[in-house]
Amino acid sequence: MKNVVCLKEEGMQSQNGGKLIEMPGGFGRFRSEKKRRNLSNWLFLAPCLFALALCAGWPLLKTIYFSFTDAALDSLNDFQFIGIDNFVNLARDQDWWIAVKNTLVITVVAVPLETIFGMIIALILHKNFKGRGWMRAIVLIPWTIPTIVSARMWLWMLNDVYGIVNELLIRVGIIDSPIPWIASNTLSVVSIILVDVWKTTPYMALLLLAGLQSLPQDCFEAAEVDSIPFRKIFMKIILPLMKPTIIVAMIFRILDTFKIFDLVYILSSGNSATATMSVFARKHLVDYADVGFGSAAATALLFFIAFLSIFYISFNRKKLNKLS
């Protein structure tokens, strides 16, 4: 389709372009419309590329650079290279491995739960029923609430003495005495997972809903007309067709959960037994002002993420090809 435009322009060019071609030296470089067009493309891109380089590229390289130094927060210009000492110390640090373990546990438990609940919600929202608009708005609400606010809300709800969650559980008769949701290390991780699932399931549901909507709709209808039970339609038609979408959405969420910070920061309030990799890195970087060591932890996290990103990007390549 683009070729049409190009042809037209080249046609126009050839009518008055003779002079340009005869021009000697530098101007000759612009004689072809294609090259001039190329330059203007990059001019349009320039501000964005500059912004990305300034706020992502440079800080990223600098962080990796810092991870090989003994820089401190108050002496960012005065530091020495210490090779891989930071990484060696990191590997020896018990708290770091606890943070790695916590991050992995949260990811491995939370993401599948989100996928299951997200799928249920997506199936509900895909159905045509009265009040679907309201349902969509309601489902979006947990996603909209700022993470800090939801963490604070849940902290109050999970309060061991006055919390409504314990109260309700006791009233229904599931437990006899209040559960210390936040005070106990194990339960604290459970709470983090609970709140994370509550908060991010809506987003998962939207990703899956988009996938559902791009499936051929007539096969659902045909199955419904033949009164095949929904369980069968789901297992035999929807799930296999949705597999690529589910995988991409899960990788997307895994990448996000690996970086989890806000929730853990509030819910575990500085307790290193329930910290995650991001919380660990920031604690050393800012609270202990050890930029070198903190950067090393951040770089290690980056490696985990980079490894996963390769999967994510290769899955997205299909979409990229569609865009081009």
């Binding site: 683009k2 049409v4 435009v5 037209k8 203007s40 493309n41 990059w42 349009f44 891109l45 501000p47 964005c48 990305l52 300034l54 706020c55 440079w58 800080p59 600098k62 962080t63 810092f66 820089a71 509900i124 349902m135 969509r136 309601i138 489902v139 979006l140 609400i141 947990p142 909209t144 700022p146 993470t147 800090i148 606010v149 604070r152 109050w156 409504i164 939207l206 990703l207 809903l209 988009a210 791009s214 979408t245 990448l255 910070f261 920061y265 991001s278 890195a281 920031r282 800012v286 932890a297 951040a298 996290l301 980056l302 993420i305 990103s309 979409k319 990229l320 569609k322 865009l323 081009s324």
Partner: protein
């Protein structure tokens, strides 16, 4: 015959009831925490410890206290200003960049999109120390500019993808007509595409605004004083004299105030937000 029909009707009714029940449960799970925050925020003093599920007290004391709190009002203003500026800057930069990415074929185009996708996966912590240094060098520590600059790493890649997708959907005839009329690229973008893209700009702008409004890690690290803090940070640092005196009523009132604008935006724009969220990610 009639019996069979009745049976079928009965089954259908049962199905509908079950579906409605699932909907109700989902809605209750989504809304309850926010509902509880609202109920708690209207309970003053010792009433906050009441576990009645219904709003039994209606006191505006907490809200009055929050509105008298200068620090909180200040952070509210900071959040609004930072989020608006971030959304505006992101849109400007990305509109310009999405134009060649969506409409032209040129070498390096795919690479740019790939880099943007890569940046979306970057953990914020991984740029923290580098960003800290950059902010020191630019001398904008503890200022709004520091937050706007650092938020661009979150908003730009996502907006770029979404905007490219939206711009790709404009029919090529419109562009061709403009070219035939002798319009330059800049004119095509600002005079022809921009009006068409109105809804898309609202959507992506809104998403960038929400992302900036909710951001916590950078805001926590790059601000120091009460006057510079944004809402999430002041909420996180909001605490009483001791651990047992946390002013939950106040926190809930502040939480409701912070969330209400967002909830309203989502209820009004839910269709647009959903299309924006899915356009920028894994559809297809």
């Amino acid at each position: 015959m009639i019996k069979a029909e009745n049976k079928w009707k009965y089954k259908r009714l049962l199905k509908n009831v079950a579906f409605a029940a699932i909907c109700l449960v989902v809605a209750a799970c989504c809304l309850f925490p926010f509902y509880w925050a609202v109920v708690s925020s209207f309970r003053d003093g010792a009433n906050i410890f009441s576990t009645d599920l219904w709003p039994t007290h209606l006191s505006f004391e907490n809200y009055k206290t929050v509105f008298r709190d200068k620090t909180f009002l200040c952070s509210f203003w900071n959040s609004a200003a930072v989020a608006t500026m971030t959304a505006f800057l992101t849109l400007t930069v990305c509109l310009s960049a999405a134009y060649p990415l969506a409409r032209h074929k040129f070498p390096g185009r795919k690479r740019v999109l790939m880099i943007a996708l890569g940046v979306t996966t970057l953990p914020q912590v991984a740029v923290l120390s580098g960003m800290f240094e950059l902010i020191r060098v630019l001398d904008i520590y503890n200022e709004k500019a520091a937050l706007v600059l650092s938020y661009m790493i979150i908003t730009v890649p996502f907006t770029l993808w979404t905007m490219t997708n939206f711009m790709k959907s404009i029919p090529k005839e419109i562009e061709e007509a403009a070219i035939m009329d002798g319009a330059s690229q800049r004119v095509i973008l600002t005079k022809v595409f921009l009006p068409i893209l109105g809804p898309a700009i609202v959507t992506t702008g809104l998403l960038a605004f929400i992302a900036a409004w909710n951001e916590f890690l950078f805001a926590l690290t790059f601000t120091l004083t009460n006057q510079a803090r944004t809402v999430p940070v002041s909420l996180a640092l909001f605490s009483g004299a001791s651990q047992h005196e946390v002013p939950y009523g106040l926190i809930m009132a502040a939480s409701v105030l912070v969330t209400l604008p967002l909830v309203m935006l989502v209820v009004i724009f839910q269709r647009r937000i959903i299309s924006g969220l899915t356009a920028g990610s894994v559809k297809g």
